[in-house]
C-alpha cells in the first residue's frame, strides 16, 4: 500500500534520514522502533508531506506522492497523528473532531457518532476545551481527530508517550481495533514490546538508517533487539 524507497531527508544542512526504505502492506500494522533521535519522527513527517525528502520516492496505492503537500495527502487517505498530542487546545472537543474532517465533503454526522462511540470519554467531554483534557484524553482526541478524515493509512507517532501504563494498554487496544476494522497503521513507538505484540512487521532505525527489519514475531525473539529495546 505504502512504499518508501531510499529516502533522504534534511533539516537545512543536517541530514536526518540517510537511507530509509519501508513497506507497509494493506491491512497491516507496521511499527518503527529506534532510539531517541534515530529519525522516526522525520520518517513519519516525510510520509505525511510535512517534510520533503531530497532523494528517494514514496508511493501510496501505486501513485508517486513524494512531493505532495499534507492537505492533499489527507484527501488521498493518509492521516498523521503527530508526536506530542497535537490538538487544538483552544477549541472544544467537538470542534477538534470537526476540524479533523476539514478536507472532507458532505455529512460527517455518522462518523462523529462512530468516533464518539469508540471514545465515550470524548462524547462526555464534547463541549470542553481540548486543552483542559488530561494527557490520555488528549491523545484519544488526537487519534479520533485523525480518524475523522477517514484515512486508509493512519500514521501514529508515539501515541503512548508520557502516559500511564494502564492508558498505554488502552491506546494499543484501540490501535488494534482500528486496524481490524480495515485501516492500515504505521506506528512509531518507544514501547517496543507492546508495539511488536500488535504489529505484523517491524523496522528498526538507527541514526537515519534502517538497521533491521522483519516480521514482528521474529524481532520479538531477536537477541540484539531484546538487549537494545526490550530491556533484557
Amino acid at each position: 500500500m505504502l512504499s518508501v524507497n531510499n529516502i533522504q531527508t534534511y533539516y537545512g544542512n543536517i541530514q536526518a534520514l540517510k537511507n530509509v526504505s519501508i513497506e507497509v502492506p494493506q491491512g497491516s500494522i507496521v511499527t518503527i522502533l529506534g532510539a531517541n533521535g534515530a529519525g522516526k519522527t522525520t520518517t513519519m513527517k516525510s510520509i505525511a508531506g510535512v517534510l520533503k525528502p531530497k532523494q528517494g520516492t514514496i508511493t501510496f496505492l501505486d501513485e508517486d506522492i513524494t512531493n505532495k503537500n499534507p492537505d492533499e495527502l489527507v484527501r488521498k487517505g493518509i492521516s498523521l497523528v503527530p508526536e506530542g498530542r497535537a490538538i487544538l487546545s483552544g477549541m472544544t472537543v467537538l470542534e477538534n473532531l470537526e476540524m479533523g474532517a476539514y478536507q472532507r465533503k458532505g455529512s460527517i454526522k455518522q462518523d462523529l457518532d462512530k468516533v464518539m462511540e469508540r471514545f465515550p470519554i470524548l462524547k462526555e467531554r464534547q463541549s470542553q476545551l481540548g486543552g483542559t483534557l488530561s494527557g490520555g484524553q488528549q491523545q484519544m482526541l488526537a487519534i479520533a481527530r485523525a480518524l475523522m478524515a477517514k484515512p486508509k493509512l493512519l500514521l501514529l507517532d508515539e501515541p503512548s508517550m508520557g502516559l500511564a501504563p494502564l492508558i498505554v494498554k488502552d491506546i494499543f487496544q484501540i490501535v488494534k481495533e482500528i486496524n481490524e476494522e480495515g485501516t492500515t497503521v504505521l506506528l512509531v513507538e518507544q514501547n517496543a514490546r507492546q508495539a511488536l505484540k500488535i504489529a505484523d512487521h517491524a523496522y528498526v532505525l538507527e541514526t537515519g538508517r534502517v538497521i533491521k527489519s522483519g516480521s514482528a514475531k521474529e524481532l520479538l525473539k531477536d537477541s540484539s533487539i531484546k538487549e537494545a529495546y526490550l530491556g533484557h
Binding site: D71, R75, A86, I87, L88, E98, G100, Y102, A146
Partner: protein, 330 residues
C-alpha cells in the same frame, strides 16, 4: 433644526474613527492566523497613493480609484506574504516594518509621481464629489435646511458607516466559515493544523493579503476624506498605532480592535490635554497590556459572558411570556 444638530467637526472625528476601525479590522485579519505585521502603514499608503494619483492625474472615477488602490495593496500583500511565510512573531514584525519603510522612502523619492515629501494635495474629496453629483440631480443642501459643508461631512460619515458595517459583517461571517476555522486552527497550533490537512501556506497568505487589501482600502478612503496625503502620514508611528488598536482592544475577536480603534481615536479628541501625549500614552498602554492583559481588553471569554447573559435574559422573558399565557389560559 437639522442645521443645529449637525456639527461638521464631530462628524469628521466620527469619520476618522470609522477609517481607523477599518484599519483595526485589517490588522485583526492578519493577526487571526498569528502573523504579527508592522507593515500595515505601508499597505495603507499604497492604497492612498494609488487612488490619489489615479483620480487626480488620470481622471479615474473615485470609486474605481479606491478599488484599484485596495487591490494593488492586496497584490503587494501576496508578494510580501509569500517570502515571509517562514518568519514567526517578532521576526515577521521586523521584516514587515522594513517593508513599510521601503515603501515610504519610495514615495518620498519618486517625486515625478508622488511629489516627494511635500505630498499630494487637492485630491478629489469624497463628500464634495458627491454633493456635486447630487446637485446635478437637482438636490441641494438647503432643501433639507442645512449648509453645504454640513451636507458634505454628513454624506462622508454615512457612506463610511455603511462601508464599515458591510466590511465587519463580511469578516464576521468569514470567521464562522471554513476559512475562519482554518485561520483559528493555524493561530492555535500550526503543526496540528497542518496535520489536519489545512493548507497552511494558502491560508496564511490569504490572511496576509486580505489584511493588506483592507489596509489599502482604508488608506484610499483616507486620501479622499482628507484630500491631502504625504509620506509622513504613513510612517512608523502609524504602523504602531494600527497595531495598538489590536493590542489594546484585543485580537482574539473582531470586536477587540474595533473597540480599540474607537476608543483610542476618540480619546484625544475628547480630552484635549491628552492629545499632546498621545504617543507616550500608546507606549504606556503597550507595556501595561503586556503585563496585565496580554490578550487585550475584549477576549473570547468576555464575548461568551455577554452572549450567555443575553440568552439568560431572553430565557427569563420567555418564561414570563409562558407564564402569562398560562395565566390567560386558566
Amino acid at each position: 433644526m437639522l442645521a443645529e444638530i449637525i456639527n461638521p467637526y464631530y462628524l469628521q472625528v466620527l469619520s476618522f474613527i470609522l477609517i481607523n476601525i477599518i484599519l483595526g479590522v485589517s490588522i485583526y485579519i492578519t493577526l487571526s492566523t498569528g502573523q504579527l505585521s508592522l507593515g500595515h502603514a505601508g499597505f495603507m499608503s499604497i492604497g492612498a497613493y494609488t487612488s490619489a494619483i489615479l483620480t487626480l492625474n488620470y481622471d479615474f472615477p473615485l470609486v474605481v480609484g479606491v478599488i484599484l488602490g485596495a487591490l494593488l495593496a492586496g497584490i503587494v500583500g501576496i508578494l510580501i506574504g509569500i517570502p515571509t511565510l517562514r518568519l514567526q512573531g517578532v521576526y515577521l514584525a521586523i521584516a514587515t516594518l522594513g517593508f513599510g519603510e521601503v515603501v515610504r522612502v519610495l514615495f518620498i523619492n519618486w517625486e515625478s509621481l508622488t511629489q516627494g515629501a511635500i505630498g499630494i494635495s487637492s485630491i478629489p474629496h469624497f463628500g464634495r464629489e458627491l454633493v456635486t453629483g447630487l446637485r446635478d440631480t437637482g438636490f441641494t443642501a438647503d432643501m433639507i435646511g442645512i449648509r453645504n459643508n454640513q451636507l458634505i461631512s454628513l454624506l462622508v460619515f454615512i457612506i463610511l458607516l455603511v462601508i464599515t458595517v458591510l466590511l465587519i459583517t463580511f469578516f464576521v461571517r468569514q470567521n464562522h466559515s471554513r476559512v475562519g476555522r482554518a485561520f483559528a486552527a493555524i493561530k492555535m497550533d500550526e503543526n496540528a493544523a497542518e496535520a489536519m490537512g489545512i493548507n497552511i501556506t494558502y491560508y496564511k497568505v490569504l490572511a496576509f493579503a486580505q489584511g493588506a487589501m483592507v489596509a489599502g482600502f482604508a488608506g484610499a478612503l483616507y486620501a479622499h476624506v482628507t484630500a491631502y496625503i504625504s509620506p509622513s502620514d504613513f510612517a512608523y508611528h502609524r504602523a504602531v498605532e494600527i497595531l495598538i488598536f489590536a493590542v489594546f482592544g484585543g485580537s482574539e475577536v473582531i470586536w477587540g480592535p474595533i473597540f480599540g480603534a474607537t476608543f483610542l481615536t476618540a480619546m484625544p479628541e475628547l480630552l484635549r490635554e491628552v492629545s499632546e501625549y498621545r504617543y507616550m500614552i500608546y507606549g504606556i498602554i503597550l507595556v501595561a497590556m503586556m503585563a496585565f492583559r496580554p490578550q487585550g481588553l475584549i477576549d473570547h471569554e468576555m464575548i461568551y459572558k455577554i452572549k450567555s447573559r443575553k440568552k439568560k435574559k431572553k430565557k427569563v422573558e420567555d418564561d414570563k411570556k409562558e407564564r402569562n399565557r398560562h395565566g390567560v389560559g386558566s
